[in-house]
Amino acid sequence: MYQNKSLVILILLLGLLIHKYYCKEQTYIHNQAKPLRFHVAEFNFDHVSDVYAITLWILLGSLAKVGFHLSYRLTEKFPESCLLIILGLIVGGLLYITHLAEQKAYVLNSDTFFLFLLPPIILEAGYFMPNRPFFDNLGTILLLAIVNTLFNTVCIGLTIYGFAHTPIFGRTPFDMLSCFVFAALISAVDPVAVLATFTEIHVNDMLYIVVFGESLLNDAVSIVLYRIFDSFAKIGQQNLILMDYVLGALSFFVVSLGGVLIGIIFGVVACFTTKFTEHTPVLEPLIILVYAYLAYLTSEMVSVSGILAITFCGMVMKQYVSFNISKKSDATTEYVLKMLSSIMETIIFMFMGLSTVSDNHSWNTGFVLITILSCLVFRVIGIAIFANLANCWRLLELTRIDMLIMSYGGLRGAIAFSLALILDETKIPRKKEFVTATIAVVFFTVFIQGITIGPLVKCLNVRRKQIEEPTMSAKLTNRMMDHVMTCLEEISGSGGSNSLRDKCRNLDRNYFKRWLLRETPQEKMDIKLLQTFKKINMQSAMKVHDTSKGLVPTPSSAAFHTSTSATNLRPSSTFANFSQLLAANLPEQTVPDLMFFESQGPDHYRDDAQMHHFLDTNLYRAKPR
């Protein structure tokens, strides 16, 4: 562990040296006027300076992560995001002291953030979003994302404006529109922070999806509100007319629905493209990523919600593209997305730490305190009201503990910070206070709430996600329950047989699947069946041939049945036979999914894992309810 820390420090020093040399190098060239001679090799830092710095950053962040995870004590107590911010603070401090921080490249640039750093994270979230829980809880998520965010904005805005008249803020004037702009950017829960924290505490799927879904979908609301108040501030409070208000309200629908539509369109086009990529499987991951990124950029271009666009693009692609592309491309896409999002997350948190150490601050104790308090208080109140409202129609009620975790998980993060940085100081004179307060809130939520939410979850015995591999019987019974419940819902008519859902399902089956998939799942199964059948025949023929020479014990039916009766006494022989049978049936080009690799243990568990995998792939899927 100490070696790694010294490694990190070494890298830091190296980086600093390079920057110092870079500054020196420039002056060196100007002062000398040497006669020209041939140089075998030149030190040409100019050429690579920017890219070098970025790459060094990425390396630094990754090494830091590696270092953190080596120390179990650290990772148990602190979420990764905290450690990365601290690292950013340290580097920022160093750069500040050595006066290199004047160069603008070392502050979080909002354009960089919104165009490069944010999209991969959101895409990964959308692509891996578990669809069933998401749509089951969609009502709750929408209610929270839209109404709760509005509620929070209004309350926080009014509170701050109210307190602005009192001497707590030290007599600096805050006008109403500025307060509301600030409230708009600070009240939205941040998906990056939620993702970083919740993935480490492993709460159950439903709770996770409610908080995370809320943080994704509230982007539309917070963008609209931010833009409305920002534009109103630009127009000037005196010049506003009724039309401006109406258009503001209308823009909400345009932004959210526009984003969703753009996302779905790009997703569908991507699926259609993958229909033809059978001969160029190498391009498949690229196609997926490019289309998703285009969706994001297009929405940003027409100023609708890019986050919504890329989320829905990812969700749509997941449904259809996974049927079309080869298994290898599927695994590759998964890995590339995870890698990109991990890098971007690291960079974001480090940059946040780095940007904190600068001169652009104006600390106003009263303001910061009031902000933090009102964020906390109104979050709790908002969740209490709206979760209880949602319980009226929910099947699985949200308990008090769920509500506590939901309020506690309302973390603010880099999005709020970036939005604060791009405020126009001429129109919003209090920008520096806002930036400081935003950083304070972000630090408070990420550090204090992030660190304590883990122990809180354990202490309150919140239902955790099942990480262990379920037993065979559990799997079977799970699947059986799904089938039984689907059937019963049909019998009792409570699935709403003539409803929207059925119409969507039919539409999907008859039109979308035919247009977008290379071959319908039905045909695919038949082809697979034929292949497997041929293989089984071939293999048993081979085995008969071999046994006649006494080389391989035959797995033919008679011999096998006698050995299965002795199963419980000699498990090893069963597994050996089973592996052989499995090997006979796996098609040749199989690349097992990533989870399969992860579940490989020592040898005698390997067959167990194979059996599980085999069962998983062969059980009939239950229809989504």
Partner: protein
């Protein structure tokens, strides 16, 4: 449609059912309309063919087994009337809060229903034969009998505590401790 249903269902009956099962009157009336819609020959009870007519049930891998369970355990002589129908469905009413649980939709009764799906000879034990039957129904076509047999044996091995190669109800419940059977087996009843 709504008013017709309430005329044919006597008021005391309605109250009785609501009290015993915990449904609201609107839910019961809606289920009654559904019952009448399924009862195509309009004779006041459902038979196997009525239930098999529902397309979802037909293509469901466990559809036939489910109808077996319904007809044998909850109806009689291959017929099921409305009262039996609604007592069956009452089992699946969601209800974690104490106020909503009646004797019907306890966790035990939900698990017992699942157990009955396996155990058709009602000897309170799932033996290898019964497990194999259900497995065969749930698994795709191109599976070797030997492979299914191995899976069945492995499952029994996991669950069987006393070594008699069959699974009793207690052993069954023990395994499902970790799964949220209660939540999964609850249905939303519209009113």
């Amino acid at each position: 449609m709504g008013s017709n249903a309430s005329i044919m269902l006597q008021q005391e009956d309605l109250q009785n059912i609501c009290q015993q099962t915990g449904f609201t009157t609107k839910q019961v009336q809606r289920l009654y309309s559904r019952f009448k819609a399924l009862d195509k020959r309009d004779c006041g009870f459902l038979i196997r063919e009525d239930l098999l007519c529902i397309p979802e049930v037909n293509i469901n891998p466990l559809g036939e087994r489910l109808i077996d369970v319904i007809m044998e355990d909850y109806g009689e002589n291959n017929k099921i009337n409305f009262k039996q129908f609604i007592f069956l469905l009452a089992k699946f009413r969601g209800g974690k809060a104490k106020s909503l649980t009646t004797e019907f939709n306890t966790r035990e009764s939900k698990l017992k229903f699942l157990f009955d799906m396996y155990d058709r000879n009602h000897d309170m034990k799932i033996d290898r034969r019964e497990l194999l039957d259900v497995l065969k129904m749930m698994v795709g076509g191109n599976i070797h009998d030997d492979q299914i047999a191995t899976i069945a044996d492995h499952t029994i091995g996991e669950l069987d505590d006393d070594g008699d190669k069959s699974i009793t109800f207690e052993e069954f419940c023990n395994t499902l401790e970790r799964i949220d059977a209660d939540d999964k087996m609850s249905m939303k009843f519209l009113s």
